[in-house]
Amino acid sequence: MKQLKYRSAAFLLSNKLDPSAIERVFRAHPMVPSTELNYVNKANIKLAAVQMELRPYRSLSDFILHLQEIVAQAQEHGAQLVSFPEYVGLLPLLISPTFREMGEDFFDALEEGKLEDCRNILNYFSEELSELLFSCYYNTFALLANRSHLYIHAGSTLLANGGKLYERCFLFGPDGEAVLEQDKLFLSPLEQELGICPGEELELCDSPLGRLAILPGQDSFFYETAKAARQLGAQILLCPLRPVHQDNEVAERCGPWSRCQEQALYALCSHFVGQLDSFRFVGKAGIYGPYEATRATQSGIVSRCASESPSVLVSRVNLDYLDIPVDLYAADSNPALAQMLAAAYSEFPQPLEHLLPLTTETDNEEI
């Protein structure tokens, strides 16, 4: 019975999310193109992190107008790049009451620990909805970037590809072309259990705004990703973060904020807020940088939303500040350590405890 209900809802949704329908909404509601990218000064890059309200949509037009409203707010403050939260690509599902209900069922099953039910919903999503939703996601954000003439980091979406499910992020350039595509690299145990596959490559993009990388969700909670990005020349990390039920600044500091301090980078964190059915989301958007680059406060925080209300956080960053003076305490290198670490990583996924036996109380080297 449920399958039949889903099938008819999918049919109705496919008519509503048709690419020509998206085009029609953009034509009916033209955007004013920004001129902020006509002249770019590396000492004055204007970035926007979105604290986006999670709300139900009555129609496709309702969804697109919400995105346009956010981008217009960012434009008003002179933003050159706008970053949306993780899973923003799934929002068109909220147009359908049936799939909104399916989403609720998913979260209920998750809370009750019924992973099999969650997997069934995701399997259905992969087989029947992923392509439809991805096409809507891609077309909408490409047009949003093209019509606003800004860089738009379209958070992330779930995408079925070759029988596997990935969380994929896109950055669209001002001409509407995708200039950067990144799969989530480090999955939580839950994501792994749900059958989501990790990416294998870290992509970077050269733009007039600097060299950019995307680290969605908990990718920015591991130094490995940020260090690889920095070594490859990244200057700004785009970190769409997952919906959270509790605002915890300390927990968030373990992620992008810490990476900024370790690797001398800027990071943009976007979040969802608001009440959707019985779920309340409270994450706060923030723009972070190294201590040395946040000269006024020396806090490593360029700016962070103060309230839980929807807003667009726009701040200026100076890429020249990333050339921070050498820290005498943290600038040495040790080839032996590099070799040991490379050996440890290259022996994955065998249990490392076996490969790297603990030193016992008797076998430690003599000085």
Binding site: E224, A228, Q231, S258, L328, A342, A344, F348, E353, E365
Partner: protein, 235 residues
């Protein structure tokens, strides 16, 4: 091993009752070479007398900076040399080339010597080798001390690897732990203070409750880490 009681105190001061692990705090960068032999002998006696594991002050041998661990019988059971140097002393110090995690009755211990605490790759390797307790002993020039020294040092090491980090320096003493298991959610069991005295109980089973607790290898992306290992481990 369910819990370990850590005590930081001035050298050879009587430890607080019930201490399992004592760490000596000192204002000097390291024990002067001429005093080393006598110093280590006193340390051995101290560990035996109070029946504690002891991490004494840093010392130099053959141009390498070391920390060591005494067991409650007064025997040295492990050394760790500094793998990184403060660049202001680079010409006088040789880097070590091995990493030891010591399996003891008070936990799997990694001794983090001086500026080594600022290298996340080293702490990751220690965690991969099974460490659940890190003792960081460092010297910070007073004009170099700033919040960054704590947040990018012991605090970050604890959060990113899901382990306890006891920080002992001339500038502060503190115990960092994963924020999920600290009562005030700050990531510190003992807040950093300019003090040479600290006392703290560490309950190892609580580490499992943190996102980065337990085996870290399961949480990393093996294909990514392997593919990017050369650039991840470079400076």
């Amino acid at each position: 091993m369910a819990r370990t009681v850590v005590c930081i105190c001035e050298a050879f001061e009587k430890p607080k009752a019930l201490s399992d692990l004592v760490i000596f705090s000192d204002y000097r960068p390291s024990v002067p070479a001429g005093d080393l032999q006598a110093y280590l002998k006193y340390c051995s006696n101290y560990a035996r007398e109070y029946k504690v594991y002891l991490v004494p002050h840093r010392f130099m041998v053959d141009n390498r900076l070391y920390l060591c661990l005494f067991d409650p019988n007064g025997a040295i059971i492990g050394y760790q040399g500094a793998l990184h140097r403060n660049l202001s002393t680079q010409s006088k110090v040789e880097p070590a080339s091995s990493v030891h995690v010591m399996q003891t009755a008070i936990g799997n211990l990694f001794l983090c010597v001086d500026t080594d605490i600022y290298y996340p790759e080293l702490l990751r390797l220690a965690k991969l080798k099974g460490a659940d307790l890190v003792v960081s002993s460092q010297y910070i020039h007073s004009y170099d001390f700033k919040p960054k020294r704590i947040t990018t040092g012991i605090w970050s090491a604890a959060q990113q690897n899901g382990l306890f980090v006891v920080g002992c320096s001339n500038a502060f003493s503190a115990v960092a732990a994963p924020w999920e298991i600290t009562p005030d959610g700050t990531g510190f069991l003992v807040q950093p203070e300019h003090s040479q005295h600290l006392f703290c109980k560490l309950f190892f089973h609580k580490l499992e409750r943190s996102a980065m607790g337990g085996s870290i290898a399961e949480k990393l992306n093996p294909v990514f880490c392997k593919r990017y290992s050369s650039i991840i481990s470079q400076k």
